[in-house]
């Protein structure tokens, strides 16, 4: 590990390239050719940079750290209070940002192909979505994480609003209300932690935490409560899950791919923060565990009740973020590895399902199981992709969902809570039922109107099939060789559990 590199070249580019691209695309507005060239080139550059970059720190503005003994240092591995903002790019960040940039590339290509007119602001919002998720997963600073979460939630509202339908506007308004609430909550948590420790860098704050001083403990409890509030919001966990599901269901399915990736990364980032900062408080892990269990159950139960495939997927995404949360809040190395791996797998297989749903949407009859059927006859590959995605989501070997769920089940058994293992099993079984209820009705149920070659909607773009093939390849790859991903995640899990260092 090359962690002493304290000015890694790649880290600023993950933020600056999306910003500049977004500004350029916003000004271009409706010049489609220029927009497509810029957007595809820039997102491709992000994929390449994330794949090539080594691991290390970056201290923005280049101010040194203050040594406790006096004097200054530029070495990131020494104990020192950092004057500047610190980002860390490690194995976890590499795999997360690589996947996010790959999804960004896919989504940008699909949206250029399928959307008409004035796509500049929309695609620039997609780039900013990537930016916010990169910020949140890399940053090691409370203050900056707060800004990242806030800008991320405004961007989500924008992406949802872009379809201009009543249901999206309502979803965006509700979501923004909670963005306001959780932003204020996170600011109070920030104020409390700053008041107790005086440091906004997370590693420094943990080192300075007055855990021995019992009278200050209640400050930490309230800070924990407010941070949990924003965690619940950013990840779409239990009390806010209907709103998050609204957001997922009301945006275009291809945009939901990026939104759910962003949400999972925020879930992971704030979850690890909670574990690092508040993990030693009594009841902290219990609160997190109960939220995760409730999210899983309410999510899948609500998914069973939906009749629109988009909303089924939306609730399933919510419920599967409960699986991620479960792993993280167990707090053991195995649990965290399982949670992180589940987050990555979840992003991939849900993207398969969402893109298949996007294909259905192009037939012009919506995605409700009442209004559309018999798609398999017209688009057999779409049906196959959806079925493979459903297998992956419900934990069938040899797909990736199986590998992470088995780790989660083992972790909860080792933790001494077999009930949690049962809940995980129930979630995967119910996922299977809910998905196949939709897939059977939409793809396989015979339909007369479609057999009569009635042409509605728009042809499914070829690029969608290419993206589906690539994502299914990743699904199977992680399912057969889980070590490919787990090797990236082990280090982060070990660091979170044993040393208060960056994950």
């Amino acid at each position: 590990m090359n962690e002493s590199i304290s000015n890694l070249w790649s880290i600023p580019l993950f933020i600056i390239i999306p910003i500049l691209t977004a500004i350029a695309l916003n000004i271009m507005y409706n010049r489609k050719k220029a927009i497509s060239v810029t957007a595809v080139a820039s997102s491709f550059a992000l994929v390449v940079i994330s794949a090539l970059s080594p691991f290390g720190f970056h201290w923005f503005t280049g101010h040194p750290a203050v040594l406790p003994t006096g004097g200054y240092t530029y070495r990131a591995d020494l104990l020192g209070w950092r004057l500047s903002l610190e980002y860390y790019y490690g194995p976890l960040q590499q795999i997360a940002i690589f996947l996010a940039s790959l999804l960004l590339l896919f989504v940008v290509m699909i949206s250029i192909k399928s959307l008409k007119k004035n796509i500049g602001p929309y695609i620039s919002l997609l780039f900013l979505t990537f930016m916010s998720s990169a910020i949140v997963i890399m940053v090691n600073d409370f203050y900056h994480m707060w800004i990242g979460v806030e800008i991320g939630s405004l961007i989500v509202a924008g992406v949802v609003l872009a379809s201009g339908e009543a249901v999206s506007q309502k979803a965006a308004l509700k979501y923004t209300f909670f963005s306001a609430l959780s932003g204020a909550g996170l600011a109070i948590a920030l104020a409390l932690i700053l008041g107790v420790t005086g440091y906004s860098n997370i590693s420094d704050a943990i080192k300075a935490m007055p855990l021995s001083n019992g009278s200050l403990a209640s400050i930490l409890y309230v800070a924990f409560g407010f941070t949990v509030l924003s965690w619940v919001y950013a990840g779409g966990l239990a009390p806010i899950h209907p709103l998050k599901a609204d957001v997922y269901g009301a945006s275009f399915p291809h945009a939901t791919v990026l939104l759910q990736a962003q949400s999972k990364l925020m879930l992971v980032a704030i979850g690890l923060l909670l574990l690092r900062v508040f993990g030693t408080l009594p009841f902290a892990k219990e609160v997190m565990l109960s939220i995760s269990v409730l999210t899983m159950m309410l999510g899948v139960v609500m998914a069973m009740l939906q009749t629109d495939f988009r909303w089924t997927l939306a609730y399933l995404i919510v419920s599967h973020s409960g699986l991620v949360t479960l792993g993280i809040s167990l707090g053991t190395v195995q649990g965290i590895i399982g949670g992180l791996f589940q987050a990555i797998n979840d992003v991939v297989y849900m993207s398969v399902l969402l893109l298949a749903c996007e294909g259905v949407y192009y037939f012009g009859r919506g995605t409700s199981i009442k209004s559309v059927s018999g798609i398999a006859k017209r688009a057999p590959w779409l049906a196959i992709a959806a079925i493979l995605g459903a297998f992956a989501a419900s934990g069938v070997p040899p797909f990736n969902g199986f590998q992470s769920e088995i780790i989660l089940i083992q972790a909860s058994l080792n933790y001494g809570m077999p009930e949690l293992a049962i809940v995980v099993l129930m979630v995967s079984v119910t996922t299977f039922i809910a998905l196949f209820k939709g897939i059977y009705n939409i793809f396989l149920r015979p339909d007369d109107a479609l057999n009569n070659n009635e042409k509605t909607g728009t042809p499914v773009p070829k690029i969608l099939y290419a993206c589906l093939a690539a994502l299914i390849f990743i699904t199977v790859l992680f399912g057969v060789y889980p070590q490919l991903a787990i090797n990236f995640l082990t280090e982060a899990a070990l660091k979170v559990v044993y040393i208060p260092w960056v994950p």
């Binding site: 203050y143 707060w146 800004i147 806030e150 405004l154 509202a157 924008g158 609003l161 009543a166 249901v167 506007q169 309502k170 965006a172 308004l173 509700k174 923004t176 209300f177 963005s179 306001a180 609430l181 932003g183 204020a184 600011a187 109070i188 920030l190 104020a191 700053l194 008041g195 005086g198 906004s200 209907p242 939906q306 009749t307 629109d308 909303w311 919506g366 409700s368």
Partner: protein
């Protein structure tokens, strides 16, 4: 003369503002009133953050010619609080702008501002 603990008073006012904001968002049904309640909440947070930087007998963190640079670190306000307040104001402005914009659009669509009518939980 009664000694007033200014920091304590400000902290209590901040807590009160936060809870009033939360209560307003919860109990008021008009969307615009909810937005106003959110600004109250945000102001409470700002007050808490500013109070955090309070230093007894402190000075503004601007170096005036002729003052002592050596005494500045001890007497100037703690810089984190006011800095973060700037951010919170900006975030508040942007969030409020988005909320008001969507409210405007929804008002044109439905002709009412009642959250219980406009923002019902319903599926397409």
């Amino acid at each position: 003369m009664i000694e007033i603990n200014l920091q304590l008073l400000c902290f209590m006012a901040a807590a009160l503002l936060v809870v009033i904001g939360l209560g307003g968002m919860l109990f008021l049904d008009n969307i615009i009133k909810k937005i106003i309640a959110f600004t109250l909440l945000s102001d409470g947070v700002n007050l808490a953050l500013v109070t955090l930087g309070y230093v007894e007998g402190g000075i503004v963190s601007i170096l005036e010619p002729g003052t002592s640079a050596g005494a500045f670190p001890e007497n100037a306000v703690l810089i984190f609080g006011p800095g973060i307040v700037l951010t919170n104001i900006v975030i508040g402005v942007s969030t409020t702008a988005v909320l008001v914009a969507v409210t405007m659009v929804l008002y044109r669509r439905y002709g009412t501002l009642k959250a219980s009518k406009v923002l019902k939980g319903e599926r397409k």
